[in-house]
């Protein structure tokens, strides 16, 4: 059932006007550039916040640094949207690609990690002032976040080396 649904999407998405648009002369590299800019924004805001949780730049109060987080979220949104463009244009090259599946898995772990951070410890962590260390659980959250996003980048760069039909992962088949 799921297998057939996915196959229908794999056939349909590349016929949409968005897919046609993506196959123009320069659309793909332009969208890739936007994707890399979004990546940098995400690492520049969320990565630095993670490093602060891990102990770097301790003189910066957490609540101040947290004001950069909207830029990280902006980078994330930019990358989900540009990512959808690639996915729509070449659906089969992503959906069955082991590297893409690991990329989505890393993003999911990062998402869960964010959820745990904001529901269990953010209210305490945000009061940390200059020179104050984050608690061990908060450090772990920061470390997991950093590792997840670095893994997302690594999987993204590896996509091209694990393309179907040479590689074909289909856990739902």
């Amino acid at each position: 059932m799921l297998k057939e649904t996915v196959e229908a999407w794999v056939r349909w998405l590349p016929t949409t006007s968005l897919a046609v648009f993506m196959h123009g002369r320069w659309e793909w590299p332009i969208m890739e550039s936007i994707h890399f800019l979004g990546l940098s924004l995400l690492i520049g805001a969320i990565g630095l916040f993670d490093l602060r949780l891990l102990g770097l730049g301790r003189q910066i109060p957490i609540s101040y640094l947290h004001r950069l987080i909207p830029w990280g979220i902006a980078g994330y949104v930019i990358n989900v949207l540009s990512g959808i463009c690639f996915f729509t244009a070449e659906t089969d090259q992503y959906i069955y690609n082991p590297s893409f599946q690991l990329k989505i898995l890393s993003m999911s772990v990062a998402g869960l990690n964010v959820l745990v951070f904001y529901t269990t410890m953010f209210r305490r962590v945000r009061t940390l002032g200059p020179g104050e260390n984050a608690s061990m659980p908060a450090r772990i959250i920061g470390g997991v976040s950093l590792v997840c996003w670095l893994s997302v980048i690594a999987c993204g760069r590896l996509l091209t080396f694990f393309r179907p039909p040479s590689f074909h992962w289909c856990p739902w088949c």
Partner: protein, 167 residues
């Protein structure tokens, strides 16, 4: 272009280019993307702060993220040289490559200028940065965005893959 043809015949170049190991070319690409995130990303965060976002973040404390930028720069200089050794003709025959290097060099100069003139100026620590400081930050943002964009376009504008072989 005898030099690049010779470079392509070295063991290191051949290994980087042709080894099926993920620790050859793919790993260098990954490290280069990580470094980009740290270098361009932390610069963007600092530039955006100077332009006026997150104004309550004390500027002087943001100097503590300069080691992150230098770390990004160093791993990207190393991985960049390895990428260049892998495909020297491809890079050196493409004008976009020189544009990219120019943007990075200018971006690094701006990074130091911004530290000396803006970040280390106690008058701007928590107050608004005057227009000329904001212009430096805007130029820096533009340079990093251009470096990233030209890096991406390198793959789509090459003339030669290796000496004697067109893309």
């Amino acid at each position: 272009m005898h030099f690049t043809a010779w470079l392509e015949s070295t063991d290191l170049s051949i290994w980087l280019r042709e080894s099926p190991s993920l620790f050859a070319f793919p790993f260098v690409l990954i490290v280069h993307a990580w470094g980009m995130g740290f270098l361009a990303g932390s610069n963007a965060a600092l530039d955006l702060r100077i332009i006026g976002f997150a104004p309550r973040v004390s500027l002087s404390t943001m100097e503590r993220f300069y080691p992150v930028m230098w770390f990004g720069f160093i791993i990207n200089a190393i991985s960049g040289v390895l990428l260049l050794i892998s495909y020297p003709t491809k890079a050196l025959t493409n004008p976009v490559f020189y544009l990219k290097i120019g943007c990075i060099a200018a971006g690094m100069v701006m990074m130091v200028k911004i530290r000396d003139r803006v970040v280390r100026n106690p008058a701007f620590d928590t107050a608004a940065v005057p227009m000329n400081g904001k212009i430096l930050a805007a130029i820096s943002l533009f340079l990093w965005a251009s470096a990233i964009t030209s890096g991406r376009f390198l793959a789509y504008t090459c003339k030669y893959l290796i000496a004697g072989t067109r893309c």
